[in-house]
């Protein structure tokens, strides 16, 4: 009985952690490149969720194809937002952040007009459950979420540490001017960072769609949580965002089991406590 409970809580924690990581990594990536907290990140997540919802329910697109299309579309939208709103303010961090706050309001307002405020529920593309060791039973959709999110994070790591553009991103994050002197086009790298960050947020939104209720208001709490996670892991650090997400997922998952409705409060308090003793975050550099 207890093995079953702990097993389920652990898988749940991993699943939550992996999806938070998809969201938080984008926020952290954009911050590390542009020194801007992209406050509308959660609202791009929300748009991704609606994208998957309508593609799958109205147009009958296969769920996984819908995920892919939504990620691509929201990624391109992120790139456009960067080109139109952030690029003219490049290097001016504060005005840029105000602009992303404005975008947050703009997107939420437009989404309310377009999609209405009524809750939407999404039929899970997979059903049933899987048994492990005859004791732990995990709903299939949670395994599916984990099964898509984890490889996506692995791909991101491969990209950032092994590809030419990924190395350029790390260079820009460490010293923007020195990066330009090596021939790196910072505008292109910023646009690419926005594409990747936004696309991953949309993918996470689509993945969580079967187990969440969708309204235009989901963006706000998402960006707050992602920001929390990024601070916990170390602002601007990609591995930090993943570690912070897994830690936060675990706190929340165990919190739900043992504190019920107070789980978020418990998790946020735990994060505060960790930050008091380690202000630069788990993997942040001083």
């Amino acid at each position: 009985m207890t093995a079953m409970l702990y097993g389920q809580v652990a898988v749940n924690a991993l699943m939550l952690g992996a999806t938070y990581a998809l969201i938080a990594v984008g926020l952290s990536l954009v911050f590390s490149i542009m020194r801007v907290i992209q406050f509308a990140h959660g609202h791009l997540y929300m748009l991704g969720a609606f994208c998957v919802f309508y593609l799958a329910t109205e147009l009958g697109v296969n769920y996984f194809a819908a995920l892919f299309i939504a990620a691509l579309a929201v990624g391109v939208l992120g790139m456009i937002l960067d080109r139109v709103f952030l690029r003219p303010l490049r290097g001016q961090d504060l005005p840029s952040m105000i602009v992303t706050l404005g975008l947050l309001l703009l997107i939420e307002g437009s989404a309310l007009l377009a999609f209405g405020e009524r809750d939407k529920r999404f039929q899970s593309p997979v059903d049933g459950a899987v048994w492990f060791f005859d004791t732990i039973v995990i709903p299939s959709e949670r395994l599916m979420i984990l099964g898509v999110a984890a490889p996506l994070i692995a791909l991101l790591f491969l990209f950032v540490w092994r590809s030419k553009d990924g190395q350029a991103m790390r260079a820009v994050a460490q010293d923007r001017e020195a990066a330009m002197l090596q021939g790196i086009n910072v505008d292109w790298i910023s646009a690419l960072g926005m594409f990747i960050g936004s696309a991953l947020a949309a993918a996470a939104a689509g993945l969580l769609l079967p187990i969440q209720v969708l309204t235009p208001a989901v963006g706000g709490p998402v960006v707050i949580k992602a920001f929390m996670v990024v601070i916990l892991g170390g602002l601007g650090s990609i591995p930090g965002a993943v570690v912070g997400s897994l830690a936060f997922g675990a706190l929340e998952s165990f919190g739900t089991t043992f504190f019920g409705g107070y789980s978020s409060l418990a998790a946020f308090s735990a994060v505060m406590l960790i930050l008091i003793f380690r202000p630069r975050g788990l993997l942040g550099r001083a």
Binding site: R162, S163, K164, Q167, A171, Q174, L181, Q182, G183
Partner: protein, 242 residues
Amino acid sequence: MLLEVNDLWVHHGRAPALKGVSLAVSEGSLVALVGPNGAGKSTLVRTISGLKRASAGEILFEGKRIDRVPAHRIVGLGIAHVPEGRRVFPDMTVYENLRMGAYRRLRRGKLMLRDSAFDDDLALTYEHFPRLKERARQRAGSLSGGEQQMLAIGRALMARPRLLLLDEPSIGLAPRMVQEIAQVIAAITRRWRVGILLIEQNARMAFRIAQHAYVLETGQVVITGATDALARNEEVKRVYLG
């Protein structure tokens, strides 16, 4: 002429930092630029490499205007800039920093694979700086100041430049390290036939290895000439070599 700067004016906000500076570097020569703090030396090289925009005047590289070219295109033309304060990528390894120097020449997806042209350049760079080879897997941020300076110069060499801009490479280094850096700079001009514009506070060191020098004060060239002649100039001796 490799590099030609004509009547260049540059402002920081309203304040002029360069007030009609002219200067030239010929192929494969070593030119020193000395002057007190705040004279505008860094502003000059930052404008050459596109980090800063000129308000008037022109910059020509191999006969072509480059003063409107964006910073990330400059290195591709053949100009590598070793900025003041070294500015290596601290969280990358020494090897990764050297790869960033060759960034523009590597094809997409090529960074993880080995590339024979890249390996040749790497071997040459390691020849000048054997210590970088020993430290290849170390974080650049963990190197000593002198090693970081070597890395910054090595990274610039990886771009295969025809003009190298060095902004105060000896600052903050122990005397022995200054000697070592000076020797390497002299060796680089001979070996790679690259023109060098060397900014130095340490005029004694710069005059020893350079053929020609400019003295910059409050945004203007006040004296210029061959270094052996300048080294006998009473005014220069008193202020810069005294």
